[in-house]
Amino acid sequence: MASLRLPDSIPSPAQDSERLSLALQGRGVDEKVIVWILGHRNAIQRKQIKDTYQQLYKESIIHRLESKLSGVLKTAMILWMNEAPERDAILANKALKKKGKKINQLQVLVEIACASSPDHLMAVKQAYCSLYECSLEEDITSNISTSLQKLLVGLVSSYRHDRELVDFNLAKSEAAKLHEAIEKKQLDHDDVVWILTTRNFFQLRATFVCYKQSYEVAIDQTINSSGNGDLGSILRGVILCIVSPEKHFAEVIKASTVRYWTKDEDSLVRAIVTRAEIDMTKIKGEYFKMNNTSLDDVVTRDTSGVYKSFLMALIGAKI
């Protein structure tokens, strides 16, 4: 469930645009007003504001925000103001182009492919072609080591069926195929890639349940014990995003923060901005289960200033 809270009565997009324009005028910038307005509008309302602002002031509000804001608040606000497909295309591109990237930075590709709907993945790919003049698959090929390409290209190329259709016999036989490949340490076997990248999510969840029933150990634990570094880590991410995206994002947030400071701002922003309107409430529940602390408390403790107010608004702090 979304955590974003909306005020009881929302001003018109024209009124919002006017207040934003005032906040963005002159030498300074009134960050509090920007966060107050935009941090309490849903995706449809933000699009209306964007379109109205463009009509009224002949300028893209995103460009204006880019020129007036700075630091981590800017990063978060720009992501928030882009529509979801463009936002995820930007995140994917950023992750792929980062020099000296670590494996967990590729998580965003797994998240886009496995923690959202097939239609959303398609929209991200369309946005990627428009923004970067090449396909997402091509950029994965140019920027990722060969050993991971097959799985990652497979994940983003798929357009899975989105209905809840499960064939239990198939789940059993595919659990067996996966088991065999993992035992033989062939994590990039074609069968593994095709099963994980083409089957619908409901079918895969059934397959993982069959796996546990047949072999008495969860599939991600088998992958863990088979070693296999980066590929194993990506596969575990795939499985977790399919089975419980809220657990995955709770882990991402946990890994991004350390007592009193945020060591991985990008991941924290990504998790909160991309899930605020999807399942942040569930993520907060998982986070609490994991850490015995509320996410609200951690964000309050580890971030500061207007940036903190923005994140708090997104995770559902009371208006």
Binding site: Q126, S135, W194
Partner: protein
């Protein structure tokens, strides 16, 4: 025809039977019997017309989804149709076909292809049906040059490893944009002196894939040519309906030009000579669209 036939009385029909000894044989038991071969022939002609009309009236997405499913069910000799649909359509057209496939068959096309195909073409076909290519003009010449070399090396190495199963070959063919592929083939010719499809004579599926991606009109005119050949099998003949119906709104003009160049006779003339009845008229009407 229907308005005439439907009005005939019993006596009219009897005269028709007596008057057409080529269709009706006088039987020992004193009735005029349909010549079996002719019945089969008529059934066949009506069926071809029916298939063409049904295919023509279908939404292009449903059409492509059904064509691919039919090919999967028919087996290895029909897999070329999957290559054809996946490679000659635009990115949005293929995406539409994938959507229709979900609705019609409750699976994604890629999961069915991965599951049901068992030969060396599996990797290539999964990749082709999953592709969503960039469609702009931008091409990176350096990458195209290096990929031409990769393809060249894979083809030269064919006796040790089948290039159709080479992951790099499959990646290039299934993810690169069509303009990029055209530049690769240009560089290939420069490295090798020969066109890539000449080097791939033995590897039919790869050859077809490249033609479909870069010069679809050449591919389609070849398929049409094969449909008219003596001794063409049912699968080859069905291609006549499929190609004309699926390309009538796209590049039929270019296909006709290519056909004329290759076979020295116009496609309409060939259809006039080789095909009969309403089916023939239907095909001729379709290929004349836009003229």
């Amino acid at each position: 025809m229907i308005s005439i036939l439907g009005k005939w009385h019993q006596d009219d029909r009897k005269s028709y039977r007596k008057g057409c000894p080529q269709f009706f044989i006088q039987d020992d038991r004193l009735f005029e019997k349909w010549d079996d071969r002719h019945v089969a022939f008529l059934k066949h002609e009506f069926l071809r017309l029916k298939n063409a009309v049904v295919l023509w009236t279908m939404h292009p997405w449903e059409r492509d989804a059904r064509l691919m499913k039919e090919a999967l069910v028919k087996g290895p000799q029909a897999y070329g149709v999957i290559i054809e649909v996946a490679s000659t359509r635009s990115s949005e057209q293929l995406l539409g076909a994938r959507r229709a496939y979900h609705s019609l068959f409750d699976h994604s096309i890629e999961e069915d292809v991965a599951y049901h195909i068992n030969d060396s073409r599996r990797k290539l076909l999964v990749g082709l049906v999953s592709s969503y290519r960039y469609e702009g003009p931008k091409v990176n010449e350096e990458i195209a040059k290096s990929e031409a070399k990769t393809l060249f090396a894979a083809i030269k190495n064919a006796d040790k490893k089948n290039p159709i199963e080479d992951e790099e070959v499959v990646r290039i063919l299934t993810t690169r944009s069509k303009p990029h592929l055209k530049v690769i083939f240009k560089h290939y010719k420069e490295i090798n002196g020969k066109n890539i499809d000449e080097d791939l004579d033995d590897e039919l599926s790869l050859d077809e894939t490249m033609q479909c991606l870069c010069t679809p009109q050449t591919y389609f005119s070849k398929v049409l040519g094969a449909a008219f050949q003596n001794g063409a099998d049912e699968h080859a003949k069905e291609a006549l309906t499929r190609v004309i119906v699926t390309r009538a709104d796209d590049d039929m003009k270019e296909i006709k030009e290519e056909y004329q160049k290759k076979y020295g006779v116009s496609l309409s003339k060939k259809i006039e000579d080789a095909v009969n009845g309403n089916y023939k008229d239907f095909l001729l009407t379709l290929i004349a669209r836009g003229e």
